[in-house]
């Protein structure tokens, strides 16, 4: 084994581990599902890339390189899909801290389309689609 390549690979692995650590700090300290997702995607893409490059440097093996490339490609293809589903569910179930947002274009579009997002305890938080023709907009006091 080449010791220089081993050290380079170990440094890449250390970078990946530090990204995992940063993500966990963000998970503990951030206030919201969306901000926690922002922290959690760091080790999923860049951290995994660092880790895989580190393993490739320290193994120096062509078959291992094939499997590692497959790991990276699959993770890069599937991580956005999962993050999209989690964010969509977070928005639809009203778990987004809208007081922390500076811009909420989806809320504007939904309001223009006549949707209401109810923050009551027992109501469905999603839409009142019977009123899409009448009260288009955020007209208050619709009841």
């Amino acid at each position: 084994m080449n010791p220089v390549l081993d050290i380079i690979g170990a440094l890449f692995l250390l970078l990946g581990a530090m990204l995992c650590f940063a993500a966990s700090v963000g998970l503990v300290r951030f206030p919201d599902v969306l901000t926690r997702m922002h922290a959690a995607t760091k080790p999923q893409t860049l951290g995994l890339l660092f880790v895989v490059v580190g393993v490739a440097f320290s193994l120096q093996n062509l078959q291992a390189l094939g499997i590692l490339l497959l790991v990276v490609v699959l993770q890069l293809l599937t991580a956005p899909v999962a993050a999209h589903m989690v964010g969509r569910t977070a928005y639809r179930t009203g778990q987004v801290r809208s007081d922390l947002l500076t811009e909420d274009d989806l809320a504007d579009d939904l309001a223009a389309a006549g949707f209401h997002l109810v923050s009551g305890d027992e109501d469905e938080p999603e839409d009142a689609d019977g009123e899409s023709s009448g009260s288009g907009g955020t007209g208050g006091g619709s009841s």
């Binding site: 010791p3 291992a64 589903m85 989690v86 179930t93 987004v96 955020t138």
Partner: protein, 110 residues
């Protein structure tokens, strides 16, 4: 013990701290989605730990497990977000009255 082993040992310490804090969020997380996000990070940490073990011992037998884990994290978080977290209606953020949409149609009877 070579220099690379020492560097990998430092990385293992970082991974242990990351796993501890992620498990704290997973146990404390107020909603299901927080736990789903924390589970994704757990999977990423486990993948990194398997990779460190492979690099430390110079063998390739953990690489298929890394492959399976990356796909497992995807399908797990996807199905949780799609089918389970919708039922999580109990948890609500308290939204201030200046919020653009949430504040309308607040039922007076409740």
């Amino acid at each position: 013990m070579s220099v690379a082993d020492v560097i990998i040992a430092i990385g293992v310490i970082f991974l242990a701290g990351a796993m501890a804090m992620t498990l704290i969020r997973m146990s404390r997380g107020p909603s299901t989605l927080d736990r789903v996000v924390a589970a994704d990070v757990v999977v990423a940490v486990v993948i990194a730990a398997l990779a460190m073990e492979a690099a430390l011992n110079h063998h390739t037998s953990t690489l298929p497990i890394m492959l399976v884990l990356s796909l497992l994290g995807f399908s797990g978080s996807l199905s949780m977000a799609r089918f389970v977290a919708d039922r999580d209606k109990a948890k609500k953020w308290d939204v201030p009255s200046s919020a653009p949409i949430r504040s309308e149609r607040s039922k007076e009877g409740t």
